[in-house]
C-alpha cells in the first residue's frame, strides 16, 4: 500500500508515488556546531553538507527524481534537459534557505514538485517555508512533505500549502486521511483559504 496522500481539488486520496527521492550519502565529516553566530542561527547544530557528499549523491539516470537542494545547485547544468522534461524536482531541509533555491532556479514553476523534508515532526519551520513558497514565490505545482510526517500535523501542513504528504514508512496513510478534516471552519486565513472567518461568514452578534 502506498504511503502517499495527494490532494486533488481538495479531495484527499492515496496515490502511487511517481517520484524517487535522491539522498545525500552519509557524511564522514564531524558535525559542526555553529553556536552564537547570528546569521547562522538556523544552521545551529545542523550538519553542513560537504562537497564530497554532493559529488557522491546518486541521481538515477532516468525517471522522475527529487534531488537535494545542495546537489541541485551544484549540478544543475548537468540536469538541464531533464528539468525541461519535467523529470526533476527539488527537496530541501527545514533549515535551508528558500533564497538559495530561488536564486538558482528563478522560475520555480519549471519544477513539477518541491518537497520539504522534516527531520523531526515537531519542526514548525516547515509551515513558514511552504507558506512562503506558495504566497511569496508563487509556486503552483505539487508541494510535498516528506520525512517524519505524521497524521497529527497533516491539517496544519495542508493549511500551509502542501498538496501531498508522504507519511513516515511505519504509519498508515489510509488511517491518516481522517486527520485532514479535523476541523471544518478554521478561524484565520492561511494558504489554503486566505480569508479569515470574519470575511467568509456573516457572523451573528
Amino acid at each position: 500500500m502506498s504511503n502517499l496522500i495527494q490532494l486533488n481539488n481538495n479531495t484527499a486520496q492515496i496515490a502511487e508515488n511517481a517520484w524517487v527521492t535522491a539522498q545525500l550519502p552519509a557524511s564522514n565529516v564531524e558535525e559542526r556546531k555553529q553556536a552564537g553566530k547570528v546569521v547562522l542561527f538556523k544552521l545551529t547544530g545542523e550538519e553542513t553538507i560537504t562537497d564530497t557528499q554532493i559529488a557522491d549523491t546518486v541521481i538515477p539516470a532516468s525517471g522522475k527524481v527529487i534531488v537535494p537542494l545542495s546537489v541541485f545547485i551544484a549540478r544543475k547544468e548537468l540536469l538541464l534537459s531533464r528539468i525541461t522534461n519535467g523529470e526533476i524536482g527539488v527537496w530541501l531541509d527545514t533549515h535551508e534557505l528558500l533564497a538559495d533555491l530561488v536564486s538558482c532556479q528563478p522560475d520555480l514553476n519549471a519544477l513539477p514538485i518541491i518537497a520539504v523534508h522534516l527531520e523531526r515532526f515537531a519542526d514548525g519551520r516547515i509551515f513558514s517555508l511552504s507558506t512562503l513558497l506558495r504566497t511569496r514565490y508563487g509556486f503552483k505545482n505539487e508541494l510535498r512533505a516528506i520525512g517524519d510526517v505524521l497524521r497529527d500535523q497533516l491539517f496544519f501542513l495542508k493549511r500551509s500549502g502542501f498538496s501531498s504528504f508522504l507519511l513516515r514508512a511505519d504509519r498508515s496513510a489510509t488511517e491518516a486521511l481522517a486527520s485532514l478534516s479535523d476541523f471544518t471552519v478554521p478561524y484565520q486565513g492561511a494558504v489554503d483559504e486566505p480569508r479569515p472567518v470574519f470575511t467568509r461568514y456573516n457572523r451573528p452578534i
Partner: protein
C-alpha cells in the same frame, strides 16, 4: 463577555473529538510518548511530579458564573476538590488522570471553555488587565482585540510548532497592569493624535532564566494590522529562532542576538509583503466582537451611599477590606472587588470547589454574572454597587475570601514549586506560607504598605520573581534547597529587573531575611515612600549590609 456562536462551538467540539482520538491512539500504543507530547501539551496537559497537571484556558481572564461553577464541579469530580489560579489568568488542576482529560474537555466545551494552546510551543492564552472595561484610567478596552487575537491564534497553521512558547499580552491603560514588557509580544493600545485606535508594539520580553524587558518594535501601528504585524514577527521568529537549545529558543534571545534594529528590519521587510492581506481586521469585525464587551446595564445611582459610609465608619475590619480590596470604577456608584486567594498560611492562588461556587454565586448576585482572574492570582468581581459591598464582604469573609491584603506583603505571587513541579530546585509554597505567618498582623501589614513579593521555585520564573519588589528564587546547592533573594524588581510602565542581594539562604532563614529587608525600609523610608521607592533611592547596599551583617553579629 464574548459568547460563542455556532462556529466557535463547532471548533471547540471538533477539538474535543480530535483529542479524544489522539488519547485513544496514545493509550493503544499507536503514538509514542514523544509524538503524543505536543498534542497533550497543546490541550493543557503536563506530566508532573504527582500526576498530570491540566491547565484550562481562561481567555484574558474573563469567566462567567456558569463557567466557574463548571470549573468547581470538575475540580470536585476529577481532582482533589480544589484548583490553582495561575499568573497567566488560567486555572490549573494538579491531579487529574490522563484518561479523564477528553471527558473533562467535553464538559468544558458545554460552557464554552477549552484548554487549547495553554501549553506547548505555540501562541498561548492572551492576557490583559483584570480591570479591562471598568478601570477609570483606561484609554481603550482591549478585550475585543484580545478576542480577535484569540481566534486568530487558535490553530494558526503556520505557528503550530514554534521554537518555544509564545506569550502575548495586551493593555489599554495608562498604568500598565498586564506586564506587556515581559511578554514575547506586548501590545499597548492608545488613541493617536488623529483620535484613532493605535498600538505600540513591544517584542522580546520574557522572564525565565534570561530575564529581559521587551523592546519597542513599533511606536504606532494602526489596529487593523494587529494580526498581520504579529504574523510578520512570528514568521521571522519561526524561521530563525533557535531550535537546538530550549533555553535559548525564546524570541527574546533572537531579538537580543540580532539587535532590535536588525530584527525590526527583518520584520518590516516581511510585513511589507503581507500588510493588507486578508487577515487585516475589518471595522465590522471589531464592531461585532466589541458588542460582546459593551458596558453592563448599570443602574443610575449616586456617587455615595449612606449605608456604605456608615459601615465603613463603624466596622474597622470592613474598612480595612475596603481600603485594600475595593477599587475605583468608571461608573458612578460602582466598585470593583478583589477576592483574595492569599489567606495567610495557604498556597497562593488556590481555591476550593466550595469557594469557587461561592464566588460564582456572588458574581451572579452582585456583579452581572461575570468575574475575572488576575495575574496576581486573585478573583475579581468587576461591577459591584456601593450599597452591596457590605453584603459581599460578609459572604466573602465567611468563605475565607476577604483577607484584606491585596497589594500588601502577604499577597504573594508564587509558583507551584517543588511540591508539584518536576523542574523545581526548591519548594516555594511553604516559603510563601512561612512569610505570611511571619507577617500575620494586619495593622503591621498596612503600615508596611504597597509591596510585591514573588517566589519561583527555579529559574523558569513562573512566579515572576525578577519583577517582584522582593524576589525569591529557589536554587539547588549540592542537592539541597536554597533561596536567592533580589530586590528592586518592578512590573508596570517603569518595569525593572531586581538585583540579587548576595549568597542564598536556607528555607528556615527566609522569613527572617524578609523581616530584615522590611526593617531597613521602615527605618529609612520617607513618609510617602513605598518599599520599591526606598530601594530605588538607596540602592541594594543598605539592605544587603543589614541582612548579612546580622549573621556575623549573632555568630
Amino acid at each position: 463577555m464574548y459568547k460563542y456562536d455556532q462556529i466557535d462551538q463547532q471548533i471547540v467540539n471538533e477539538r474535543v473529538a480530535q483529542y479524544r482520538d489522539q488519547t485513544r491512539r496514545y493509550l493503544a500504543g499507536e503514538l509514542s510518548e514523544e509524538e503524543f507530547r505536543p498534542l497533550r501539551l497543546q490541550n493543557g496537559l503536563y506530566i508532573q511530579r504527582h500526576a498530570p497537571m491540566f491547565r484550562i484556558a481562561v481567555p484574558y481572564g474573563m469567566l462567567s458564573s456558569k463557567q466557574l461553577h463548571k470549573l468547581a464541579d470538575l475540580a470536585n469530580k476529577y481532582d482533589k476538590d480544589y484548583g490553582h489560579f495561575s499568573t497567566r489568568q488560567n486555572l490549573q488542576l494538579n491531579w487529574p488522570k490522563l484518561e479523564d482529560v477528553p471527558e473533562m474537555l467535553a464538559e468544558l466545551a458545554t460552557v464554552e471553555m477549552h484548554a487549547i494552546q495553554t501549553s506547548g510551543n505555540c501562541i498561548r492564552n492572551i492576557t490583559t488587565d483584570q480591570f479591562a472595561g471598568i478601570a477609570p484610567d483606561e484609554v481603550i478596552d482591549p478585550r475585543a482585540m484580545a478576542e480577535i487575537m484569540r481566534q486568530w491564534s487558535t490553530f494558526h497553521p503556520e505557528f503550530a510548532l514554534l521554537p518555544r512558547k509564545f506569550k502575548i499580552a495586551v493593555s489599554g491603560t495608562k498604568q500598565d497592569r498586564a506586564i506587556v514588557q515581559a511578554h514575547d509580544i506586548g501590545m499597548e493600545f492608545y488613541t493617536d493624535s488623529a483620535g484613532k485606535l493605535a498600538i505600540k508594539v513591544w517584542v522580546g520580553g520574557g522572564l525565565g532564566r534570561t530575564p529581559i524587558l521587551g523592546s519597542v518594535i513599533r511606536e504606532h501601528l494602526e489596529w487593523q494590522h494587529a494580526l498581520t504585524y504579529c504574523e510578520a514577527i512570528i514568521r521571522v521568529y519561526n524561521l530563525h529562532g533557535r531550535r537546538d537549545n530550549a533555553y535559548k529558543a525564546r524570541i527574546k534571545i533572537l531579538v537580543k542576538a540580532l539587535g532590535i534594529e536588525e530584527f525590526k528590519n527583518q520584520v518590516e521587510a516581511e510585513w511589507a509583503h503581507i500588510k493588507d492581506a486578508p487577515n487585516t481586521i475589518t471595522e465590522a469585525e471589531l464592531e461585532r466582537v466589541g458588542k460582546h464587551f459593551e458596558a453592563m446595564p448599570y443602574e443610575n445611582i449616586t456617587a455615595n451611599d449612606a449605608g456604605f459610609d456608615a459601615s465603613v465608619a463603624s466596622n474597622p475590619a470592613f474598612a480595612a477590606w475596603v481600603k485594600r480590596c475595593v477599587h475605583a470604577h468608571k461608573q458612578t456608584g460602582y466598585r470593583a472587588v478583589t477576592l483574595s486567594l492569599k489567606p495567610h498560611g495557604k498556597a497562593p492562588g488556590d481555591a476550593t470547589s466550595a469557594q469557587m461556587h461561592t464566588v460564582a454565586d456572588l458574581a451572579a448576585q452582585y456583579s452581572f454574572g461575570e468575574l475575572r482572574v488576575s495575574h496576581e492570582q486573585n478573583l475579581i468581581l468587576a461591577d459591584v454597587k456601593l450599597s452591596d459591598l457590605f453584603a459581599v464582604w460578609e459572604k466573602a469573609r465567611t468563605a475565607g475570601l476577604a483577607t484584606p491584603n491585596i497589594g500588601l506583603l502577604t499577597d504573594i505571587i508564587c509558583c507551584p514549586g517543588g511540591d508539584f513541579c518536576s523542574l523545581a530546585n526548591a519548594k516555594s509554597i511553604p516559603i510563601a506560607e512561612a512569610i505570611q505567618m511571619q507577617f500575620d498582623n494586619l495593622d503591621y501589614l498596612h503600615d508596611i504598605g504597597d509591596i510585591e513579593l514573588n517566589i519561583s521555585g527555579c529559574m523558569n520564573a513562573c512566579g515572576h520573581h525578577h519583577v517582584g519588589h522582593i524576589g525569591i528564587l529557589g536554587v539547588d546547592k549540592d542537592g539541597s534547597e536554597w533561596y536567592q533573594v533580589s530586590i528592586g524588581g518592578k512590573q508596570g510602565n517603569d518595569a525593572s529587573i531586581g538585583a540579587v542581594i548576595g549568597p542564598s539562604f536556607s528555607a528556615e532563614e527566609m522569613p527572617g531575611v524578609v523581616q530584615k529587608l522590611i526593617d531597613v525600609y521602615v527605618k529609612e523610608r520617607t513618609p510617602e515612600e513605598r518599599f520599591i521607592d526606598t530601594v530605588r533611592r538607596l540602592g541594594v547596599t543598605p539592605f544587603k549590609t543589614y541582612v548579612y551583617a546580622k549573621e556575623v553579629v549573632s555568630a
